[in-house]
């Protein structure tokens, strides 16, 4: 029998359309509550352990929001989400990276955010550097990196953190073809070991390699 890894149960998520950034605006709106914008409406989904899921949808269809909800970064307005095992989200490539610090120093920060202890970090650092293909750039401040290099580094850290569930948000948008191919190959390796992977994309062409495609449509 298949074991579930992620259960999304009738989840609805709304955002404030106008965020109350200053007190003045807040007072103006106090009698007329902010307009709310529904991103995900009464959505249910069960993903099994070891599945490779592709989330397909256009911009604004709620792909990122769904991943953030699964990761527990943000909480749903209604409904329930249950996950089994360690969840590692890679929502935005540069999250947690400090521009002034080098690639190596940033690996330490990012890996710590992903709850890896120091001993393990020093063990996996060579693997991370090797997979990222950054070479001598690893001791250069991140601000000198190209977008593709940053995303390669972030992806390398994320996959080496040994998650049970890996959530990837359009991570291959910035990397080149070669790295994309290498990454997908690596993802399949992990999948064989039982890792659950959810990858969001708006490319229809990449559909063939996933177990299942979930199509998201913007809520009207």
């Amino acid at each position: 029998m298949n074991k579930p890894a992620i259960i999304v149960d009738h989840v609805t998520k709304q955002y404030y359309l106008e965020r109350p950034q200053t007190l003045k605006r807040w007072f103006r709106h106090i009698f007329s509550p902010f307009k709310k914008f529904t991103v995900i409406k009464d959505f249910s989904l069960i993903i099994n352990k070891g599945e490779f899921i592709l989330l397909v949808g256009e911009n604004g269809s709620g792909k990122t929001t769904l991943l953030k909800l699964i990761a527990g970064i943000t909480i749903p307005n209604s409904g329930k989400i249950t996950t089994y095992g360690k969840v590692v989200p890679l929502i935005e490539i540069s999250a947690g990276f400090n521009n002034e610090l080098t690639g190596r120093e940033n690996i330490l920060t990012y890996a710590t955010i992903l709850e890896i202890d120091k001993k393990t970090i020093s063990k996996i650092i060579p693997k991370i550097i090797d997979f990222s293909g950054l070479d001598h750039f690893i001791d250069v401040p991140i601000k000198r990196y190209s977008t593709g290099m940053v995303s390669r580094l972030a992806f390398s850290v994320a996959i080496h953190s040994h998650p049970d569930i890996l959530l990837l948000d359009e991570v291959f948008a910035a990397g080149d073809k070669k790295f994309r191919k290498k990454s997908i190959k690596k993802l399949f390796e992990f999948k064989k070991r039982g890792m659950t992977i959810v990858l969001s994309t708006h490319y229809e062409e990449s559909i063939q390699f996933a177990d299942r495609n979930i199509f998201l449509n913007p809520v009207i």
Binding site: I73, T109, P141
Partner: protein
């Protein structure tokens, strides 16, 4: 728990590293800033306003208070922006976000130590004997950290929701600076207002330090009250922070 301290350590070191990488004068600023303020203020209050204090050279008297104030103030100012500055991390990853304000406050500890050494140098210049018991000045760092942490937690959240709070905090800090016996000794405070200094952890700790440095007495009572009050403020702060931590992601 182990991971928590690793988070704190990594973020603190990250902050220390990145804040000095981009600055030219680096460590010099840590010394120059309190020194210039002390020179100016001691001229103003000793020569022009002619404040009276307890037979201690006003310059070192003031410096001993100011370095604690700077530590507290810089910690709070950094902490209030911690969530806004780290917006990316806050909205895109999951981890204990209270590490952010805390690590920024912790990153000011090295500056504080440099200032402490500077204070001792000036004490020596002014003819004070540096005694072994002065080492207990190190105790004072704990209440200041807790106090700045508690205040920093609350301000970090409010500032992330309403940017206006940033302005309010500056105002609060200015009032608090004058309300705390830094420029003056608490002995000149009228009796009916003295309780204000007795519930202010920073005032208590500065008093503890001045008693230690200038009267050779370890007023452990002042330290304990300060520690207790700042601990309560810290707990209130962390409670407030945890309550709003998840909601902040959609609002920041």
């Amino acid at each position: 728990m182990k991971l928590y301290s690793q988070l704190l350590e990594v973020f603190t070191i990250r902050e220390i590293k990145s804040s000095y990488k981009a600055s030219l004068l680096g460590i010099l600023w840590i010394i120059l800033y309190p020194l210039m303020t002390t020179f100016f203020l001691s001229f103003l209050f000793e020569r022009i306003i002619k404040i009276t204090n307890d037979d201690v050279p006003y310059f070192v008297f003031l410096l001993s208070g100011l370095i604690f104030w700077n530590f507290f103030q810089q910690g709070v100012i950094m902490a209030k922006d911690s969530l806004v500055w780290n917006r990316e991390v806050v909205t895109k990853t999951t981890f204990s976000k209270e590490v952010l304000p805390l690590s920024l406050i912790f990153s000011k500890i090295p500056d504080f130590f440099v200032n402490l050494i500077m204070l001792f140098i000036f004490l020596a210049i002014f003819g004070f004997k540096i005694k072994i018991i002065f080492i207990s000045i190190l105790l004072s760092i704990i209440p200041v950290l807790l106090f700045a942490g508690g205040i920093g937690f609350v301000f970090a959240i409010t500032n992330a929701i309403f940017r206006d709070f940033g302005k309010l905090i500056e105002f609060f800090l200015m009032i608090f600076f004058y309300a705390t016996p830094i420029l003056y000794s608490e002995s000149i405070i009228p009796k009916k207002y003295l309780w204000l200094a007795m519930i202010n952890p920073l005032a208590l700790i500065i008093s503890f330090v001045r008693n230690l440095l200038f009267h050779d007495s370890i007023r452990i009572d002042l330290f304990i009250i300060s520690l207790a009050i700042s601990f309560i403020i810290f707990l209130v702060g962390i409670f407030f922070f945890r309550k709003f931590e998840k909601k902040i992601v959609d609002l920041i």
